[in-house]
Protein backbone atom coordinates (compact mmCIF):
# COMPACT_ATOMS: atom_id res chain seq x y z
CA UNK A 1 0.00 0.00 0.00
CA UNK A 2 2.38 2.69 -1.09
CA UNK A 3 0.91 4.62 -3.96
CA UNK A 4 2.37 8.10 -3.95
CA UNK A 5 -0.01 9.50 -6.51
CA UNK A 6 -1.24 12.97 -5.84
CA UNK A 7 -4.94 13.61 -6.19
CA UNK A 8 -6.97 16.81 -6.16
CA UNK A 9 -10.59 16.95 -5.09
CA UNK A 10 -12.74 19.96 -6.05
CA UNK A 11 -16.05 20.03 -4.19
CA UNK A 12 -17.82 22.82 -2.33
CA UNK A 13 -19.01 20.63 0.53
CA UNK A 14 -16.20 20.34 3.12
CA UNK A 15 -18.01 17.62 5.07
CA UNK A 16 -18.34 15.46 2.02
CA UNK A 17 -14.72 16.10 1.09
CA UNK A 18 -13.63 15.00 4.56
CA UNK A 19 -15.39 11.67 4.07
CA UNK A 20 -13.64 11.15 0.74
CA UNK A 21 -10.21 12.34 1.80
CA UNK A 22 -10.04 10.03 4.77
CA UNK A 23 -10.68 7.02 2.56
CA UNK A 24 -8.11 8.06 -0.03
CA UNK A 25 -5.51 9.13 2.53
CA UNK A 26 -6.04 5.84 4.32
CA UNK A 27 -5.12 4.08 1.09
CA UNK A 28 -1.89 6.06 0.91
CA UNK A 29 -2.79 8.73 -1.66
CA UNK A 30 -1.72 12.32 -1.22
CA UNK A 31 -4.87 14.36 -1.45
CA UNK A 32 -5.20 18.12 -1.92
CA UNK A 33 -8.55 19.84 -1.61
CA UNK A 34 -10.20 22.87 -3.19
CA UNK A 35 -13.63 24.03 -2.09
CA UNK A 36 -14.48 26.16 -5.09
CA UNK A 37 -13.82 26.15 -8.85
CA UNK A 38 -11.42 29.08 -8.69
CA UNK A 39 -9.09 27.53 -6.12
CA UNK A 40 -9.40 24.25 -7.98
CA UNK A 41 -8.25 25.69 -11.28
CA UNK A 42 -5.39 27.47 -9.56
CA UNK A 43 -4.27 24.26 -7.92
CA UNK A 44 -4.41 22.43 -11.26
CA UNK A 45 -2.17 25.06 -12.83
CA UNK A 46 0.25 25.13 -9.93
CA UNK A 47 0.91 21.44 -9.44
CA UNK A 48 0.82 18.18 -11.28
CA UNK A 49 -2.00 15.89 -10.25
CA UNK A 50 -2.37 12.27 -11.22
CA UNK A 51 -6.13 12.39 -10.86
CA UNK A 52 -8.91 14.91 -10.29
CA UNK A 53 -12.05 14.17 -8.30
CA UNK A 54 -14.65 16.66 -9.45
CA UNK A 55 -18.05 17.67 -8.15
CA UNK A 56 -20.45 18.89 -10.83
CA UNK A 57 -23.04 20.94 -8.96
CA UNK A 58 -21.10 23.68 -7.21
CA UNK A 59 -21.93 27.26 -6.45
CA UNK A 60 -24.57 28.67 -8.71
CA UNK A 61 -25.01 25.66 -10.93
CA UNK A 62 -22.94 23.21 -12.86
CA UNK A 63 -19.63 24.91 -12.26
CA UNK A 64 -17.88 21.56 -12.32
CA UNK A 65 -18.77 21.35 -16.01
CA UNK A 66 -16.96 24.61 -16.58
CA UNK A 67 -13.81 23.13 -15.03
CA UNK A 68 -14.15 20.03 -17.14
CA UNK A 69 -14.41 22.17 -20.30
CA UNK A 70 -11.28 24.07 -19.36
CA UNK A 71 -9.45 20.82 -18.74
CA UNK A 72 -10.46 19.52 -22.13
CA UNK A 73 -9.09 22.58 -23.88
CA UNK A 74 -5.74 22.40 -22.11
CA UNK A 75 -3.44 19.98 -23.98
CA UNK A 76 -1.54 19.06 -20.82
CA UNK A 77 -4.42 18.91 -18.34
CA UNK A 78 -6.70 16.95 -20.62
CA UNK A 79 -4.57 13.88 -19.97
CA UNK A 80 -5.47 14.07 -16.26
CA UNK A 81 -8.00 11.38 -15.47
CA UNK A 82 -11.19 12.70 -13.88
CA UNK A 83 -13.57 10.98 -11.49
CA UNK A 84 -16.83 12.90 -11.58
CA UNK A 85 -18.68 12.70 -8.27
CA UNK A 86 -22.19 14.01 -8.44
CA UNK A 87 -25.12 14.28 -6.11
CA UNK A 88 -27.92 13.65 -8.50
CA UNK A 89 -27.86 11.56 -11.56
CA UNK A 90 -30.76 13.44 -13.12
CA UNK A 91 -28.87 16.65 -12.97
CA UNK A 92 -26.38 15.13 -15.32
CA UNK A 93 -29.26 14.10 -17.52
CA UNK A 94 -30.58 17.68 -17.41
CA UNK A 95 -27.23 19.07 -18.37
CA UNK A 96 -26.76 16.73 -21.26
CA UNK A 97 -30.28 15.98 -22.40
CA UNK A 98 -30.41 12.96 -24.62
CA UNK A 99 -26.83 12.08 -23.90
CA UNK A 100 -25.66 9.14 -21.87
CA UNK A 101 -25.53 9.68 -18.14
CA UNK A 102 -21.78 9.56 -18.33
CA UNK A 103 -20.75 12.70 -20.17
CA UNK A 104 -17.10 11.95 -21.05
CA UNK A 105 -15.49 15.25 -20.41
CA UNK A 106 -11.91 14.15 -21.00
CA UNK A 107 -10.34 11.02 -22.56
CA UNK A 108 -10.16 9.17 -19.25
CA UNK A 109 -13.04 9.73 -16.88
CA UNK A 110 -15.65 7.95 -14.81
CA UNK A 111 -18.75 8.89 -12.90
CA UNK A 112 -19.87 7.88 -9.43
CA UNK A 113 -22.81 9.04 -7.38
CA UNK A 114 -22.70 10.60 -3.93
CA UNK A 115 -22.38 8.98 -1.47
CA UNK A 116 -19.86 6.46 -2.75
CA UNK A 117 -18.88 3.20 -1.06
CA UNK A 118 -15.22 3.27 0.03
CA UNK A 119 -14.38 0.09 -1.85
CA UNK A 120 -15.97 1.38 -5.05
CA UNK A 121 -14.20 4.71 -4.72
CA UNK A 122 -10.80 3.05 -4.32
CA UNK A 123 -11.45 0.72 -7.25
CA UNK A 124 -12.48 3.58 -9.54
CA UNK A 125 -9.50 5.69 -8.56
CA UNK A 126 -7.14 2.80 -9.07
CA UNK A 127 -8.55 1.84 -12.45
CA UNK A 128 -8.55 5.44 -13.68
CA UNK A 129 -4.91 5.88 -12.66
CA UNK A 130 -4.01 2.66 -14.46
CA UNK A 131 -5.97 3.64 -17.56
CA UNK A 132 -4.22 7.00 -17.68
CA UNK A 133 -0.83 5.35 -17.31
CA UNK A 134 -1.62 2.88 -20.07
CA UNK A 135 -2.70 5.76 -22.32
CA UNK A 136 0.48 7.63 -21.57
CA UNK A 137 2.64 4.56 -22.32
CA UNK A 138 0.85 4.18 -25.66
CA UNK A 139 1.31 7.74 -26.80
CA UNK A 140 4.97 8.07 -25.82
Amino acid sequence: MSPQERLLIIDDDPDFVAGIVSILAGAGYQVDTAYNPKDGLQALQAKHYDLLLLDIMMGRGAEGVMIARKLRKDPKLRETPVLVITGIREQIAFLFPGGPLHPHFVPVDELVEKPVEPQLLLEKVDSLLKAAQARKAQTT
Binding site: A18, G19, S22, G87, I88, E90, P118
Partner: protein, 387 residues
Protein backbone atom coordinates in the same frame (compact mmCIF):
# COMPACT_ATOMS: atom_id res chain seq x y z
CA UNK B 1 -49.63 48.73 -0.90
CA UNK B 2 -47.02 49.79 1.61
CA UNK B 3 -48.01 53.45 1.15
CA UNK B 4 -51.51 54.77 1.54
CA UNK B 5 -53.84 53.09 -0.94
CA UNK B 6 -54.16 55.18 -4.11
CA UNK B 7 -57.69 55.87 -5.32
CA UNK B 8 -58.52 57.29 -8.75
CA UNK B 9 -61.94 58.65 -9.65
CA UNK B 10 -62.84 59.03 -13.35
CA UNK B 11 -65.97 61.12 -13.87
CA UNK B 12 -66.90 63.95 -16.23
CA UNK B 13 -68.85 65.82 -13.56
CA UNK B 14 -66.55 68.09 -11.65
CA UNK B 15 -68.96 68.18 -8.70
CA UNK B 16 -68.55 64.44 -8.24
CA UNK B 17 -64.76 64.64 -8.46
CA UNK B 18 -64.64 67.46 -5.96
CA UNK B 19 -66.93 65.84 -3.45
CA UNK B 20 -65.09 62.51 -3.70
CA UNK B 21 -61.78 64.28 -3.12
CA UNK B 22 -63.26 66.09 -0.16
CA UNK B 23 -64.68 62.97 1.41
CA UNK B 24 -61.40 61.09 1.35
CA UNK B 25 -59.14 64.10 1.91
CA UNK B 26 -56.70 63.97 4.81
CA UNK B 27 -57.63 60.37 5.46
CA UNK B 28 -55.82 57.17 4.82
CA UNK B 29 -55.93 57.41 1.01
CA UNK B 30 -54.09 59.14 -1.82
CA UNK B 31 -56.61 60.63 -4.15
CA UNK B 32 -56.43 61.43 -7.88
CA UNK B 33 -59.14 62.48 -10.31
CA UNK B 34 -59.63 62.45 -14.08
CA UNK B 35 -62.26 64.24 -16.13
CA UNK B 36 -62.56 61.72 -18.95
CA UNK B 37 -61.84 58.10 -19.83
CA UNK B 38 -58.74 58.67 -21.95
CA UNK B 39 -57.04 60.84 -19.34
CA UNK B 40 -58.16 58.40 -16.65
CA UNK B 41 -56.44 55.51 -18.43
CA UNK B 42 -53.29 57.62 -18.73
CA UNK B 43 -53.32 58.14 -14.97
CA UNK B 44 -53.95 54.43 -14.39
CA UNK B 45 -50.81 53.63 -16.37
CA UNK B 46 -48.76 56.34 -14.71
CA UNK B 47 -49.89 56.03 -11.10
CA UNK B 48 -50.84 52.37 -10.82
CA UNK B 49 -53.72 53.05 -8.42
CA UNK B 50 -55.15 50.39 -6.13
CA UNK B 51 -58.74 51.31 -6.72
CA UNK B 52 -60.48 53.09 -9.63
CA UNK B 53 -63.99 54.55 -9.65
CA UNK B 54 -65.38 54.89 -13.17
CA UNK B 55 -68.48 56.80 -14.20
CA UNK B 56 -70.39 54.72 -16.74
CA UNK B 57 -71.72 57.66 -18.71
CA UNK B 58 -69.05 59.95 -20.01
CA UNK B 59 -68.56 61.78 -23.28
CA UNK B 60 -65.74 60.24 -25.33
CA UNK B 61 -64.51 56.88 -24.14
CA UNK B 62 -67.34 55.08 -22.35
CA UNK B 63 -67.07 53.85 -18.80
CA UNK B 64 -67.46 50.26 -19.95
CA UNK B 65 -64.51 50.60 -22.32
CA UNK B 66 -62.36 52.07 -19.54
CA UNK B 67 -63.31 49.15 -17.29
CA UNK B 68 -62.43 46.61 -19.96
CA UNK B 69 -59.08 48.24 -20.73
CA UNK B 70 -58.15 48.27 -17.05
CA UNK B 71 -59.24 44.66 -16.63
CA UNK B 72 -57.14 43.56 -19.61
CA UNK B 73 -54.04 45.55 -18.75
CA UNK B 74 -54.10 45.46 -14.95
CA UNK B 75 -56.22 42.57 -13.75
CA UNK B 76 -55.19 43.23 -10.16
CA UNK B 77 -56.58 46.79 -10.05
CA UNK B 78 -60.02 46.89 -8.47
CA UNK B 79 -62.65 48.90 -10.35
CA UNK B 80 -65.94 50.27 -9.08
CA UNK B 81 -68.68 51.75 -11.20
CA UNK B 82 -70.38 55.05 -10.46
CA UNK B 83 -73.75 55.14 -12.10
CA UNK B 84 -76.32 57.86 -12.13
CA UNK B 85 -79.06 55.57 -13.26
CA UNK B 86 -78.81 52.74 -10.82
CA UNK B 87 -80.48 50.17 -12.92
CA UNK B 88 -79.66 46.56 -12.47
CA UNK B 89 -78.85 46.09 -16.12
CA UNK B 90 -76.11 48.72 -16.25
CA UNK B 91 -74.59 47.42 -13.04
CA UNK B 92 -74.63 43.86 -14.36
CA UNK B 93 -73.03 44.95 -17.59
CA UNK B 94 -70.32 46.74 -15.64
CA UNK B 95 -69.68 43.69 -13.46
CA UNK B 96 -69.30 41.63 -16.61
CA UNK B 97 -66.67 44.06 -17.75
CA UNK B 98 -64.67 43.44 -14.62
CA UNK B 99 -66.08 45.90 -12.08
CA UNK B 100 -66.01 44.65 -8.50
CA UNK B 101 -68.78 46.83 -7.10
CA UNK B 102 -71.03 49.75 -7.98
CA UNK B 103 -71.92 53.04 -6.38
CA UNK B 104 -75.28 54.63 -7.28
CA UNK B 105 -75.44 58.40 -7.67
CA UNK B 106 -76.23 60.35 -5.59
CA UNK B 107 -74.26 58.88 -2.69
CA UNK B 108 -73.58 60.01 0.87
CA UNK B 109 -70.01 60.46 2.14
CA UNK B 110 -70.44 57.38 4.31
CA UNK B 111 -71.56 55.28 1.35
CA UNK B 112 -68.52 56.40 -0.62
CA UNK B 113 -66.14 55.69 2.28
CA UNK B 114 -67.62 52.27 2.82
CA UNK B 115 -67.42 51.25 -0.83
CA UNK B 116 -63.86 52.59 -0.96
CA UNK B 117 -62.86 50.60 2.10
CA UNK B 118 -64.35 47.43 0.69
CA UNK B 119 -62.63 47.97 -2.65
CA UNK B 120 -59.26 48.52 -1.02
CA UNK B 121 -59.73 45.38 1.04
CA UNK B 122 -60.51 43.50 -2.15
CA UNK B 123 -57.34 44.87 -3.72
CA UNK B 124 -55.29 43.71 -0.72
CA UNK B 125 -56.69 40.19 -1.08
CA UNK B 126 -56.02 40.15 -4.83
CA UNK B 127 -52.41 41.17 -4.30
CA UNK B 128 -51.96 38.63 -1.55
CA UNK B 129 -53.40 35.85 -3.66
CA UNK B 130 -51.18 36.81 -6.59
CA UNK B 131 -48.07 36.84 -4.47
CA UNK B 132 -48.93 33.49 -2.92
CA UNK B 133 -49.48 32.04 -6.37
CA UNK B 134 -46.16 33.41 -7.53
CA UNK B 135 -44.45 31.97 -4.48
CA UNK B 136 -45.99 28.60 -5.12
CA UNK B 137 -44.82 28.60 -8.71
CA UNK B 138 -41.34 29.64 -7.69
CA UNK B 139 -41.24 26.97 -5.06
CA UNK B 140 -42.34 24.35 -7.54
CA UNK B 141 -39.81 25.53 -10.08
CA UNK B 142 -36.95 25.48 -7.61
CA UNK B 143 -38.08 22.48 -5.64
CA UNK B 144 -35.39 20.31 -7.10
CA UNK B 145 -32.65 22.74 -6.26
CA UNK B 146 -33.99 23.43 -2.79
CA UNK B 147 -34.49 19.81 -1.86
CA UNK B 148 -31.22 18.65 -3.32
CA UNK B 149 -29.19 21.27 -1.57
CA UNK B 150 -31.00 21.61 1.69
CA UNK B 151 -31.70 17.96 2.34
CA UNK B 152 -29.89 15.67 0.03
CA UNK B 153 -26.41 17.14 0.10
CA UNK B 154 -26.00 17.17 3.87
CA UNK B 155 -27.41 13.66 4.11
CA UNK B 156 -25.02 12.47 1.43
CA UNK B 157 -22.15 14.01 3.38
CA UNK B 158 -23.21 12.28 6.56
CA UNK B 159 -23.49 9.01 4.69
CA UNK B 160 -20.09 9.50 3.11
CA UNK B 161 -18.50 10.00 6.50
CA UNK B 162 -20.29 7.02 8.02
CA UNK B 163 -18.98 4.93 5.16
CA UNK B 164 -15.50 6.32 5.63
CA UNK B 165 -15.64 5.62 9.37
CA UNK B 166 -16.84 2.09 8.79
CA UNK B 167 -14.01 1.58 6.35
CA UNK B 168 -11.34 3.02 8.64
CA UNK B 169 -12.59 1.26 11.74
CA UNK B 170 -13.12 -2.15 10.19
CA UNK B 171 -11.45 -4.59 12.55
CA UNK B 172 -11.53 -2.08 15.40
CA UNK B 173 -15.29 -1.96 15.97
CA UNK B 174 -16.86 -4.79 17.90
CA UNK B 175 -19.87 -6.54 16.50
CA UNK B 176 -22.50 -4.41 18.21
CA UNK B 177 -20.76 -1.18 17.17
CA UNK B 178 -20.50 -2.36 13.60
CA UNK B 179 -24.19 -3.29 13.62
CA UNK B 180 -25.19 0.12 14.87
CA UNK B 181 -23.06 1.82 12.28
CA UNK B 182 -24.67 -0.37 9.65
CA UNK B 183 -28.13 0.59 10.83
CA UNK B 184 -27.30 4.28 10.68
CA UNK B 185 -26.12 3.85 7.12
CA UNK B 186 -29.27 1.91 6.33
CA UNK B 187 -31.55 4.62 7.72
CA UNK B 188 -29.82 7.37 5.81
CA UNK B 189 -29.98 5.27 2.70
CA UNK B 190 -33.77 5.05 3.09
CA UNK B 191 -33.98 8.82 3.54
CA UNK B 192 -31.85 9.48 0.48
CA UNK B 193 -34.02 7.19 -1.61
CA UNK B 194 -37.17 8.88 -0.34
CA UNK B 195 -35.83 12.31 -1.26
CA UNK B 196 -34.80 10.97 -4.62
CA UNK B 197 -38.33 9.77 -5.30
CA UNK B 198 -39.86 13.07 -4.27
CA UNK B 199 -37.45 14.96 -6.42
CA UNK B 200 -38.35 12.76 -9.31
CA UNK B 201 -42.06 13.29 -8.89
CA UNK B 202 -42.03 17.02 -8.40
CA UNK B 203 -39.12 18.41 -10.30
CA UNK B 204 -38.99 16.48 -13.50
CA UNK B 205 -41.26 17.40 -16.28
CA UNK B 206 -41.67 13.97 -17.73
CA UNK B 207 -42.96 15.41 -20.98
CA UNK B 208 -39.60 17.01 -21.51
CA UNK B 209 -38.03 13.58 -22.01
CA UNK B 210 -39.86 13.40 -25.33
CA UNK B 211 -37.17 15.54 -26.86
CA UNK B 212 -34.63 12.78 -26.40
CA UNK B 213 -36.67 9.86 -27.69
CA UNK B 214 -34.90 7.35 -29.90
CA UNK B 215 -35.35 3.73 -30.94
CA UNK B 216 -35.07 1.85 -27.68
CA UNK B 217 -34.58 -1.89 -27.22
CA UNK B 218 -37.23 -3.37 -24.99
CA UNK B 219 -34.82 -6.12 -23.96
CA UNK B 220 -32.41 -3.51 -22.69
CA UNK B 221 -35.26 -1.93 -20.72
CA UNK B 222 -36.22 -5.27 -19.15
CA UNK B 223 -32.60 -6.07 -18.35
CA UNK B 224 -32.10 -2.67 -16.74
CA UNK B 225 -35.22 -2.98 -14.62
CA UNK B 226 -34.26 -6.48 -13.52
CA UNK B 227 -30.88 -5.25 -12.42
CA UNK B 228 -32.53 -2.60 -10.26
CA UNK B 229 -35.12 -4.89 -8.73
CA UNK B 230 -32.98 -7.99 -8.24
CA UNK B 231 -31.15 -7.14 -4.96
CA UNK B 232 -34.41 -6.71 -3.06
CA UNK B 233 -35.89 -9.81 -4.71
CA UNK B 234 -32.87 -11.88 -3.75
CA UNK B 235 -33.11 -10.72 -0.16
CA UNK B 236 -36.76 -11.82 -0.04
CA UNK B 237 -36.04 -15.02 -1.94
CA UNK B 238 -38.38 -14.06 -4.73
CA UNK B 239 -37.70 -15.38 -8.18
CA UNK B 240 -38.31 -13.01 -11.06
CA UNK B 241 -39.22 -14.81 -14.27
CA UNK B 242 -38.51 -12.59 -17.21
CA UNK B 243 -38.27 -13.56 -20.83
CA UNK B 244 -36.70 -11.48 -23.52
CA UNK B 245 -38.20 -10.68 -26.88
CA UNK B 246 -36.56 -12.65 -29.63
CA UNK B 247 -35.88 -10.90 -31.90
CA UNK B 248 -35.82 -7.72 -29.90
CA UNK B 249 -38.68 -5.20 -30.11
CA UNK B 250 -38.07 -1.47 -30.26
CA UNK B 251 -40.16 1.43 -29.10
CA UNK B 252 -39.69 5.12 -29.65
CA UNK B 253 -38.62 6.28 -26.23
CA UNK B 254 -36.14 7.03 -23.54
CA UNK B 255 -34.40 4.01 -22.08
CA UNK B 256 -33.58 5.56 -18.69
CA UNK B 257 -37.14 6.49 -17.78
CA UNK B 258 -38.63 3.30 -19.24
CA UNK B 259 -36.26 1.29 -17.05
CA UNK B 260 -37.41 3.38 -14.12
CA UNK B 261 -41.08 2.77 -14.93
CA UNK B 262 -40.65 -0.99 -15.20
CA UNK B 263 -38.34 -1.11 -12.17
CA UNK B 264 -41.03 0.66 -10.14
CA UNK B 265 -43.57 -2.02 -11.10
CA UNK B 266 -41.09 -4.81 -10.34
CA UNK B 267 -40.14 -3.18 -7.05
CA UNK B 268 -43.80 -3.03 -6.03
CA UNK B 269 -44.39 -6.62 -7.10
CA UNK B 270 -41.50 -7.77 -4.95
CA UNK B 271 -42.52 -5.56 -2.07
CA UNK B 272 -46.07 -6.90 -1.96
CA UNK B 273 -45.14 -10.56 -2.50
CA UNK B 274 -44.53 -13.22 0.06
CA UNK B 275 -41.03 -14.59 0.51
CA UNK B 276 -40.30 -17.48 -1.78
CA UNK B 277 -42.95 -16.59 -4.37
CA UNK B 278 -42.54 -15.68 -8.02
CA UNK B 279 -42.92 -12.53 -10.05
CA UNK B 280 -43.35 -12.73 -13.80
CA UNK B 281 -42.56 -10.26 -16.53
CA UNK B 282 -44.42 -11.02 -19.74
CA UNK B 283 -43.81 -9.35 -23.07
CA UNK B 284 -46.43 -9.61 -25.73
CA UNK B 285 -46.63 -7.96 -29.12
CA UNK B 286 -49.91 -7.66 -30.95
CA UNK B 287 -50.16 -5.70 -34.16
CA UNK B 288 -48.49 -2.42 -33.33
CA UNK B 289 -48.75 -2.60 -29.57
CA UNK B 290 -46.34 -4.05 -27.08
CA UNK B 291 -47.64 -5.01 -23.67
CA UNK B 292 -45.39 -5.57 -20.70
CA UNK B 293 -47.10 -7.24 -17.78
CA UNK B 294 -45.70 -7.55 -14.29
CA UNK B 295 -47.56 -10.29 -12.46
CA UNK B 296 -47.29 -11.11 -8.79
CA UNK B 297 -49.14 -13.50 -6.52
CA UNK B 298 -48.84 -11.21 -3.52
CA UNK B 299 -51.30 -9.50 -1.23
CA UNK B 300 -53.18 -7.67 -3.98
CA UNK B 301 -54.96 -4.35 -3.85
CA UNK B 302 -58.42 -3.80 -2.30
CA UNK B 303 -61.03 -3.00 -4.92
CA UNK B 304 -61.83 0.39 -3.43
CA UNK B 305 -58.18 1.45 -3.73
CA UNK B 306 -57.74 0.43 -7.36
CA UNK B 307 -58.96 3.69 -8.92
CA UNK B 308 -56.40 5.65 -6.95
CA UNK B 309 -53.22 3.62 -7.30
CA UNK B 310 -51.81 5.81 -10.05
CA UNK B 311 -52.83 9.15 -8.62
CA UNK B 312 -49.83 9.70 -6.41
CA UNK B 313 -49.40 10.81 -2.83
CA UNK B 314 -51.35 7.81 -1.64
CA UNK B 315 -48.81 5.70 0.10
CA UNK B 316 -50.07 2.20 -0.34
CA UNK B 317 -50.43 0.17 2.78
CA UNK B 318 -47.17 -1.16 4.06
CA UNK B 319 -45.96 -4.19 2.15
CA UNK B 320 -45.63 -7.62 3.66
CA UNK B 321 -42.16 -6.71 4.86
CA UNK B 322 -43.78 -3.56 6.26
CA UNK B 323 -41.81 -1.15 4.12
CA UNK B 324 -43.79 2.02 3.81
CA UNK B 325 -43.67 3.52 0.36
CA UNK B 326 -43.46 7.11 -0.68
CA UNK B 327 -46.65 6.46 -2.60
CA UNK B 328 -45.30 8.10 -5.70
CA UNK B 329 -43.73 5.28 -7.65
CA UNK B 330 -46.87 4.40 -9.59
CA UNK B 331 -47.68 8.05 -10.28
CA UNK B 332 -44.22 8.53 -11.75
CA UNK B 333 -44.52 5.32 -13.71
CA UNK B 334 -47.81 6.47 -15.17
CA UNK B 335 -46.35 9.83 -16.15
CA UNK B 336 -43.48 8.11 -17.90
CA UNK B 337 -45.77 5.73 -19.75
CA UNK B 338 -48.08 8.56 -20.84
CA UNK B 339 -45.10 10.54 -22.11
CA UNK B 340 -44.37 7.51 -24.31
CA UNK B 341 -47.93 7.63 -25.66
CA UNK B 342 -48.68 4.41 -23.83
CA UNK B 343 -51.21 3.29 -21.27
CA UNK B 344 -50.98 1.55 -17.95
CA UNK B 345 -53.60 -0.53 -16.20
CA UNK B 346 -53.96 -2.78 -13.21
CA UNK B 347 -55.97 -5.82 -12.31
CA UNK B 348 -55.89 -7.15 -8.82
CA UNK B 349 -57.58 -9.41 -6.36
CA UNK B 350 -56.86 -9.11 -2.65
CA UNK B 351 -54.96 -12.15 -1.44
CA UNK B 352 -54.26 -13.42 -4.94
CA UNK B 353 -52.02 -10.84 -6.50
CA UNK B 354 -51.81 -8.00 -8.95
CA UNK B 355 -51.03 -7.58 -12.63
CA UNK B 356 -49.79 -4.26 -13.90
CA UNK B 357 -49.75 -3.86 -17.66
CA UNK B 358 -47.95 -1.23 -19.69
CA UNK B 359 -48.88 -0.87 -23.36
CA UNK B 360 -46.54 0.95 -25.70
CA UNK B 361 -46.67 1.61 -29.45
CA UNK B 362 -44.12 -0.54 -31.24
CA UNK B 363 -41.63 1.25 -33.42
CA UNK B 364 -42.00 -0.23 -36.91
CA UNK B 365 -38.80 -0.18 -38.85
CA UNK B 366 -39.53 0.94 -42.41
CA UNK B 367 -39.54 -1.90 -44.92
CA UNK B 368 -39.70 -4.51 -42.20
CA UNK B 369 -42.95 -6.40 -42.48
CA UNK B 370 -41.96 -9.50 -40.65
CA UNK B 371 -44.61 -10.53 -38.17
CA UNK B 372 -43.89 -8.94 -34.85
CA UNK B 373 -42.40 -11.53 -32.58
CA UNK B 374 -43.70 -12.43 -29.18
CA UNK B 375 -41.32 -13.09 -26.38
CA UNK B 376 -42.36 -16.33 -24.80
CA UNK B 377 -39.16 -18.00 -23.71
CA UNK B 378 -39.12 -18.97 -20.02
CA UNK B 379 -42.05 -16.77 -19.37
CA UNK B 380 -44.34 -19.16 -17.63
CA UNK B 381 -47.54 -20.39 -19.15
CA UNK B 382 -49.60 -17.69 -20.77
CA UNK B 383 -52.71 -19.00 -19.06
CA UNK B 384 -51.46 -17.86 -15.68
CA UNK B 385 -51.01 -14.39 -16.94
CA UNK B 386 -53.65 -11.76 -16.54
CA UNK B 387 -55.62 -13.85 -14.12
Amino acid sequence: MIDKPRVLVIDNEEVVLDSCAQILEGGEYQMDTAKDGAYGLDLVRKLAPDLVFVDLRMPGMSGIEVLERIRDEYPLIVTIVITGYATISSAVEAMKSGAYDFLPKPFTPDEFRMVTKRGVERRRLLLETASLRRERELLKEHFAAIVSHELKSPLASVQQNLMALGHELSGVLNESQATRLGRMKGSIDVLLKLIHTWLRAYSTDVDSIRGSFQPTSINAVVAGALETARPHAVRKDIHIDAGLADPDIHVHGDEGTLVEALANLLGNAVKYSRSGSRVQVRLQAQADTLTISVIDVGIGIPKEDLPFVFSGLRAGRAGIDSQPGAGLGLAITRQIVLAHRGTISVESEPGKGSTFTISLPILQTPGDDRPVPTGTAEMGSPKEALA
